[in-house]
Symmetry: C2
Amino acid sequence: MILLDGKHTAETIRQEMKQQIDALLREGRRAPKLGIVLVGHNPASETYVNNKMRACEQVGIEAVKIAYEDSVSEQELIDKVQELNDDASVDGFIVQLPLPSHIDESRITSAIDWRKDVDGLTPQNIGRTALGMPSLVSATPRGIRELLSRYGITTAGKHVVVIGRSNIVGKPMAMLLMQRPYLSLPNMSASALGDATVTVCHSKTQDLKKICLTADIIIVAAGCPKLLTADMVREGTTVIDVGINRVDGKLVGDVDFAAVAPKAAYISPVPGGVGPMTIVSLLQNTLQAYNEHTR
Amino acid sequence: MILLDGKHTAETIRQEMKQQIDALLREGRRAPKLGIVLVGHNPASETYVNNKMRACEQVGIEAVKIAYEDSVSEQELIDKVQELNDDASVDGFIVQLPLPSHIDESRITSAIDWRKDVDGLTPQNIGRTALGMPSLVSATPRGIRELLSRYGITTAGKHVVVIGRSNIVGKPMAMLLMQRPYLSLPNMSASALGDATVTVCHSKTQDLKKICLTADIIIVAAGCPKLLTADMVREGTTVIDVGINRVDGKLVGDVDFAAVAPKAAYISPVPGGVGPMTIVSLLQNTLQAYNEHTR
């Protein structure tokens, strides 16, 4: 069993990015700039935003936090999104989710110019990803693609089972996997992802176990601790755990790691697997947007 | 075995639409208006366009053909797309594909305002469909959804195998099928489609037969005559044939119909199955765009 070490891989990528950005600065170009809109004081959101700001700093991306109280109106946020869309000094920006319940998240997200949508959540980017057009890919699927690629794991002709059909993980992940392989995009290493036979499972799926037993690769993004158990996994399967659950104060994924790991060819741990790769994707998307925007 | 009679179903829907549009006219409202941009003299395209115009006429949609010679420049087409985007008297329009090789189809398609994109081909509409937002769904998947729905075939909890990963059929079809079920959209009958476990197969899939034998519903959109043979289908499977191939001057689908039909619970023929439903989808999308646009 080989551990898919997202923490280490993310660190390697950040070092590579720092070198690229240092080189840009030496050429006299400005640093890439990321805007982060944060509403309220959700502790998890504050932690995520701080982690993102620290990661930006490490690679040389200028990160600017724009903070609002919970009481902010939808229109104020829309106006800020428009301002960031129009601000030529900002290469990309994100609106940290979740938003307070009086704000329509999809209305905010849809207002973001897709060229600056470094979280890859707008209909335009999801659609462009699906159609195989150049796009800013949603952070988690992009991170998983990078993790697989760095470990030399190919997907062509393999059966990949994706558990979970969320808009930010399951659906764009499935689209990337079934795609004809990406040709090299600017600032993106040629990726072996694509050409997979993809099955998307979810809460309404019958006989999940039987389907999982036919998989070469299983990607679990269901938000359900120990959903994937050892009896559901063939010897030699690659297992990617996207779950982030807190059980008895401890962070755990969707996979019964101790029991599944001995059967897996490759497996990503939680924490230290997909999570760090997701933040790196945000940095990569920001650099990609910068390169498009300033070229 | 029950034949999924797309020709008859489409006729029924056109009659329903005619009544709806007649009612609009009696209220003193204008008729919905569809623009059809046709480039060159490809005989198949000319036939398709004529069929679409005739179908529009039948239901009371005003169809306007805008024809160009093969020599038209990309910029002229983009300018026309912009003009149609801005023309308040036009509810929706399509650019008949394929376009001559000197024109970048995706550049033309992407320029269409998604609210008028009644073919459902823009990244915005594909993305909105994937995200479960109100959208103009690509014509063929919309037609298949309607056909299944009219025959009372549900997809929740079923395993649907989609063969083919094209941007206009396989991918949006998969997105619709895996979706949480659509809530009723304006002018769309509540649909039972959604909540399916979906497997997307294609030319790189290994052991297609084995996968098909686990399916409750198989949708074949591969463009390959007799791809789906009787040994690949369990008794009681529903089979949707999206193929349009010409063999010895005869129109055939992707399914070995004579051999598969006796095993199928439901099966759509070619011709007379998905094809007529696809044209009806265009009419339905045009009426949906009209209702959004004029409300």
